[in-house]
């Protein structure tokens, strides 16, 4: 098959592979490439070390409902007295007077006596019934049905969750259900998720994906235009747009494998060190894939952009550096206000949509987890004040809904990808056209 299109394609292919290969080998000989890539690796390793340290830490269990206190000083914790129906505020009323007498529990039994077992999120206006009274203080037989169903939803000892019209969680629990969740379990799970999101969004998609293109792509063509070595390439029968494109491909040939390696390391570390019964958290490969994909798209667009700025102007860096600062502002903004319209004018705003959408797919109970951690804060029915659970605040900070409104996460992921690709293609054409019109001294 040696027809014409075939040979043209093969000739183009030869040029593409030659320039791509040349660019990759050129990067390999520059010290700055290695400095930058190793610095990126050090940053991610540092973050992973902090993460492992957090996962190994013992989180102090907090008595969130105050029932480990022995209010009347009879050595029976309030929770145990309540379970057996004695008066926790009277010394003369405690399970020790039962026949046979029941020995007092250690107060620590009444810390974290309820696990966290909400497994469903309400969707739309439908409310769901979640929660299981692990310690049995609600289900105890001497309580009446109305005592067991204080939220009047017809199910005893449950929590009724619903979404308000504004998208806020409404929480209505029967008394004594999940009143003291396991702090350590919650903190580890929340910190684990927050770490993946935080490291993924700020570490990978911002720090790595913006500074590596800044260092590596700004001079991709400009350096050679300045030094005069571009002459060797441009005296060959090749269009300048092709040169621009193949140079960027060569840059991606270094950066994308590097990102894949970094993500793989991070995924393996968080998979093994993360909390849970299983040895490895396979389910979270999805979120790491999304982070990798977002970082790849970001490095593509930034690479095209910075290369284009370098071609356009001898002082392209003057435009590139303020742009990087702008992107940092947008990254921080997207954590708080993910649907701000101004984010649509940034690259990172779109790239983070991919991560946020994936986190919604991988962890559908995310909003609930944050809410349950935060909802512990406040004063309960018995007048006990407690703080929100450790880990809920970082998780709230780093988690954001995909900012494209109420559409399915898959759809918003596809939209964000398409937008980023359009940005890249537009930059390719603009950059190629500018390069074509440049006089090379």
């Amino acid at each position: 098959m040696a027809d014409k299109t075939n040979t043209i394609f093969r000739a183009l292919d030869r040029k593409a592979s030659a320039i791509t290969e040349f660019t990759m080998r050129q990067y390999r000989t520059k010290i700055s490439t290695w400095v930058v890539l190793i610095t990126g690796l050090v940053i991610i390793s540092l973050l992973m070390m902090f993460y492992i340290d957090a996962m190994q830490r013992d989180f102090e269990s907090v008595d969130n409902d105050g029932d480990s206190i022995d209010s009347d000083g009879d050595s029976y914790p309030d929770g145990q007295e309540r379970l057996y129906g004695t008066n926790p505020f009277s010394e003369l009323s405690n399970p020790g007077f039962f026949q046979p007498p029941i020995p007092p529990d250690d107060p620590s039994v009444w810390v974290d006596e309820d696990d966290f077992d909400w497994n469903e999120s309400p969707t739309g206006t439908r409310s769901v019934s979640v929660g299981y009274d692990d310690d049995g203080d609600c289900r105890t037989e001497d309580r009446t049905s109305s005592q067991k169903d204080t939220n009047d939803n017809g199910i005893e000892c449950d929590i009724e969750l619903s979404l308000s019209l504004t998208g806020e969680f409404m929480y209505d629990a029967d008394n004594l259900v999940d009143e003291d969740p396991d702090d350590e379990a919650y903190a580890k799970e929340a910190l684990h998720r927050a770490s993946i999101l935080g490291i993924g969004k700020l570490g990978f998609v911002f720090i790595i994906s913006i500074f590596i293109p800044l260092f590596m792509a700004t001079g991709l063509i400009r350096d050679e235009m300045n030094s005069g070595t571009m002459h060797y390439m441009l005296t060959k029968p090749i269009a300048r747009t092709e040169v621009f494109f193949y140079r960027v491909i060569g840059y991606l040939g270094i950066v994308w494998p590097y990102l894949i390696i970094l993500t793989l390391i991070s995924a393996v570390v968080t998979g093994f060190a993360g909390p849970g019964d299983s040895l490895f958290r396979f389910a979270e490969f999805g979120i790491w894939l999304a982070i990798l994909f977002a970082a790849m798209m970001a490095t593509l667009v930034y690479g095209m952009l910075f290369c284009f700025l370098g071609v356009m102007w001898r002082y392209g860096i003057v435009l590139a550096i303020p742009f990087a600062a702008w992107e940092l502002g947008m990254a921080l903004l997207s954590m708080g206000v993910p649907d701000a319209p101004i984010l649509r004018f940034s690259v990172i705003g779109w790239a983070l949509i991919i991560v946020d959408s994936a986190s919604l797919i991988v962890w559908p109970d995310m909003a609930l987890l944050i809410y349950s951690g935060l909802s512990v804060e406040g004063t309960d029915a018995l007048g006990f004040e407690s703080e929100e659970l450790i880990g809920s605040e970082p998780l709230q900070y780093f988690y954001a809904n995909p900012g494209l409104g109420n559409i399915s996460p898959f759809l918003s992921m596809i939209i964000a990808t398409v937008v980023l690709l359009i940005q890249a293609i537009a930059l390719l054409f603009v950059g190629g056209a500018i390069f074509k019109g440049k006089e090379i001294e």
Partner: protein, 349 residues
């Protein structure tokens, strides 16, 4: 066809087949060049009339120089002047136009609080004055506030200034011009350092002074107020000096190790903004403030908070740690700078 081209005065030869503006028209077919024939049998040529008027020999008389050689500081002053005046005038170091433009923009943007102080004095709005007038927090914020000053203004200004300050000299071979004079390398680098610092001081410290004096003038402040607030002003001024020194040290250190123009600028911004982002990430996720010690901006802010006496935002360790970290950062980059300069080969790279 092309008006802007000087049309030559020469009369073209008669056998012309191209444009009449061309002094010489040539259509030659030189099938056999040197080697096969000796060229004499093929003798056609076209020349112009002899009208160009260049090239004459002039008499050269060497006059020996016997003036006094000025002391070292005089030569250093010349280098400093050459760099700093380049911002304002032609004929000195050519800073790039965007750098000059950025300095003007940042200078004006840094005067934002001055304008609002004036406005509050004019319309007599105490609420506006509380927000923007001189007080402890605002003096700190003028120099060390993160957004927008230490995110968009000062590090980027420093990055643009140090971008090519040493590397460009090396690239173009102009450093050889300095070193062919009786100037030591350290004087050369010291003057570059000071001139970059002065240009930054022009933006950071001058606007701070303007801010303070505008407050005195616009609000009619008396001695009592001045005695109360002058230490705060001095503390903010000191914080500004440390900021300038730190950014300049890092920037010049990077500039001395690299050949290009891009690397030092991007490196400085990456160090300032990158470590800041990293520290925020670690602090938010793991409640560890230790990464702030690696961030130049946060160390500066911590020391500045201690100097000015505002509410500290870093509460896991004492500000002296930040100061020590700043000293270490400066020492490290100054060491790189001096060792690179001492071993620098004066060649065109």
């Amino acid at each position: 066809m092309n008006e802007q081209i000087d049309s030559p005065e020469q009369n073209p030869p008669e056998d012309l087949s191209f444009s009449e503006h061309a002094p010489v028209t040539g259509q030659g077919r030189m099938d056999a060049a040197w080697g096969s024939k000796d060229g004499d049998e093929f003798t056609t040529a076209q020349i112009t009339n002899n009208t160009a008027s260049v090239g004459y020999v002039f008499e050269q008389i060497y006059k020996p120089w016997n003036g006094p050689l000025n002391p070292r500081w005089m030569r250093n002053w010349a280098i400093l002047r050459h760099h700093v005046l380049g911002i304002f005038r032609k004929g000195h170091r050519p800073w790039s136009l965007p750098t000059k433009l950025f300095i003007v923009i940042v200078f004006i943007a840094s005067l934002g609080d001055v304008g609002l102080t004036l406005l509050s004095a004019l319309i007599g709005s105490p609420a506006l004055h509380t927000m923007w007038g001189v007080n402890r927090d605002n003096l700190y914020g003028h120099v060390l506030g993160f957004f927008p000053r230490n995110m968009l203004y000062y590090p980027i200004l420093a990055a643009l200034l140090v971008g090519g300050i040493i590397s460009e000299d090396r690239y173009h071979g102009t450093s050889a011009l300095y070193f062919s004079r009786p100037i030591s390398r350290f004087d050369y680098v010291m003057m570059k350092y000071i001139s970059v610092a002065i240009i930054q001081a022009f933006v950071v410290l001058l606007t701070l002074m303007i801010y303070y004096f505008v407050e005195i003038l616009a609000m009619g402040r008396g001695w009592a107020w001045i005695i109360d607030t002058f230490p705060l002003f001095l503390a903010a001024f000191g914080g500004g000096i440390i900021l300038i020194i730190t950014y300049t040290s890092i920037g010049l250190g990077l500039s001395s190790v690299s050949k290009g123009k891009f690397f030092p600028g991007i490196g400085l911004v990456a160090i300032v903004l990158g470590t800041k982002t990293l520290a925020v990430l670690v602090s938010n996720l793991f409640e560890r403030d230790v990464m702030y010690l690696l961030s130049p901006y946060d160390c500066l802010a911590h020391v500045g908070q201690a100097l000015v006496g505002t509410q500290p935002t870093y509460d896991q360790y004492s500000w002296t740690w930040s100061l020590a970290s700043l000293v270490l950062m400066n020492a490290f980059f100054l060491y790189i700078l001096s060792s690179r300069v001492a071993s620098m080969e004066v060649t065109r790279e």
